[in-house]
Symmetry: C2
């Protein structure tokens, strides 16, 4: 799923889209908060945490791809309010994915702040509740994720777009949701294997990131407008490699990224022992001494700064980092070339080319 | 959420509905399994576990209320195939609620078999995967629940009903999903409080059970057909008290139920320390000696058969059990009387009266 760094914001701010997506999300979530308040005032921490989590962060990358997928199919800015609402729903699917992902990984931080389950564990402690703070935090986070997942759906359905448009776009939306959950499961499965090949890591990345973050949002936007199959194919030919490049960049940021940019502590992926393509390539091409270091340190939850530095150096020296950079360039070029060959509206094509560059550029 | 026992099956089998719901679920899940298989053969345990979990158990109570809500509004059996598909989707929402509930409670069993997270912990052990079996099981169960939640939605949307019907019914569907998640959170919160009043326990029951299991499914069915507001009001006046009675029966079964019927070990709710209305009434009306026993034994995960017996006796002697039985009778009468006053089609009214009796009758 990925999604570290903030470089894309310049582009999105220029087109004013990021702010509009945030405004729509705020309005939608305010209505849901009112609904929860009617059930019980005790649901206030739920409503507040969802609002803070959704509104305080995120580059809005998936809605951006959704929006430009629509523009690329011929949608015009003059009548795009309902479309902005519809694609903003993708942020709520993503909120579920991130909140549940942090529970599954036991991650304490997200976007530079405490993860949702940690926030509720803190609430438990501050109120001196009975039982386990961690258990309470986990339960609350599971339910919050479920809520954002069903709200996503409600936001898409109530966007104000003609019913036929939403019905037309549903197959892309449905496939996206199944694919991201399936990709997440494959990722969990890969983390439980003693060794993971680069090709396997890339297949996981395809489902949990590339299709989910880029291809399917583009399809959703295209289908909301009503577009020919050829355009969907072009979006796939652009979206899958660009999305894989995005995940590969995310893998690098998980190891080398600046915590101020990633919102996660330095080396967090190394402590979690994530079996990314970067790690697979390091193990595949490293010397016996290098692979021994990786096997010894990777996944140590108590890895200190020196240990993180050692691992970084080994991944660098083995050529793993360089190979991943090369894969990113290759995929980026492939995607942008496919885009140029398709029948995408010119302004959208220009923005998509720029989005591809920015979402896969070095941030660290 | 509840849902123990099997007495309703006689009625549902008579009208053949339970089998038809199962057939529709099997067909829908087979198509989803094929979709997962295309992504990766490694997803086979996911598809298989969802199928087994959804098809091997459940009284199909929520689809039954949805179906009879539709019939009560004037729907005719001659043209109900798409409606059966639409209301069967409620079983998939319910699968998510149960699978996630078991993760939150750490319950090892469900419907007489291992809970989903336990099944995946077993898979982890049998394959000698790396890392924690419990963590793997939990992650897989969170993702499986997410999948069934999004599939519910897909099944409703693709039922074959006219789009306008589905759009018309969405508010009931959306409210139901928000309410059950909210009710679940309030339940988790109540379990974390040192003491819970009966009125609070009943409010939790209203959202996580009564509205979710009875009222909203009836609304969904009514709205799928297109019904006047007066009928929705009648469904509420019947559904909320009947649904509360259903949850109160479930609370009693959690303490006194036969494991063969409930599918859970005897006294499981006592070991989990569930703060139900039954427990609240026991603490409220019991003698100091009786409440001391409850405070000491309730929530002890290692409670043995003798301890379960002791607690059962105290809850009985305190008058807690009798009071809950009285509340059930009161609510049942209230609901059935409201039904008789409404404009529900006669055959549906008869079945709903019978469903109310059966879903709240003593099973143990």
């Amino acid at each position: 799923m990925g999604g570290r760094g903030g470089r894309t914001s310049a582009l999105l701010d220029r087109v004013d889209l990021r702010e509009r997506i945030g405004t729509e999300l705020a309005a939608f979530l305010a209505a849901r908060a009112a609904e929860l308040a009617e059930i019980s005032p005790e649901l206030d921490p739920v409503a507040r945490t969802i609002r803070d989590f959704v509104l305080d962060g995120g580059k809005r990358l998936r809605p951006a791809f959704g929006y430009w997928g629509w523009r690329g199919a011929g949608g015009t800015a003059a009548s795009d309010a309902a479309v902005v609402r519809a694609v903003a729903a993708l942020e709520l699917v993503h909120a579920c994915a991130l909140v549940h992902d942090d529970v599954m990984d036991g991650s304490a931080t997200r976007r530079g702040a405490a993860s949702v389950h940690e926030r509720f564990a803190d609430l438990h402690r501050s109120q001196s509740f009975a039982g386990s703070p961690a258990g309470f935090g986990r339960a609350a986070a599971i339910l919050l994720g479920d809520l954002t997942l069903v709200w996503a759906d409600e936001m898409l359905a109530s966007s104000g777009l003609p019913i036929e448009a939403v019905v037309r776009a549903r197959p892309a939306y449905d496939a996206m949701r199944t694919e991201v959950m399936a990709g997440q499961y494959l990722d969990v499965l890969a983390q439980a294997q003693p060794s993971v090949s680069a090709s396997r890591a890339l297949r996981v990345a395809r489902y949990k990131s590339a299709k989910y973050t880029v291809e399917r949002p583009l399809h959703l936007g295209g289908l909301l407008h009503g577009c020919p199959v050829a355009l969907l194919e072009c979006y796939s030919a652009y979206g899958v490699p660009v999305g894989e490049a995005f995940q590969l960049r995310d893998d690098l940021l998980g190891v080398y990224g600046d915590p101020d940019v990633t919102g996660k502590p330095a080396g967090d992926d190394l402590r979690e022992g994530k079996r990314t393509a970067l790690i697979a390539l390091t193990l595949q091409h490293g010397s016996p001494a290098e692979t021994a270091v990786v096997e010894r340190l990777l996944g140590d939850p108590l890895l200190d700064t020196a240990g993180v530095e050692t691992l970084r150096d080994v991944i660098d020296a083995s050529g793993g980092r360089r190979r991943v950079e090369a894969l990113i360039v290759e995929r980026l070029e492939q995607g942008v070339a496919a885009l140029a060959r398709g029948q995408v509206e010119p302004e959208a094509a220009a923005v998509l080319a720029e989005l591809a560059e920015m979402s896969t550029a070095r941030h660290a």
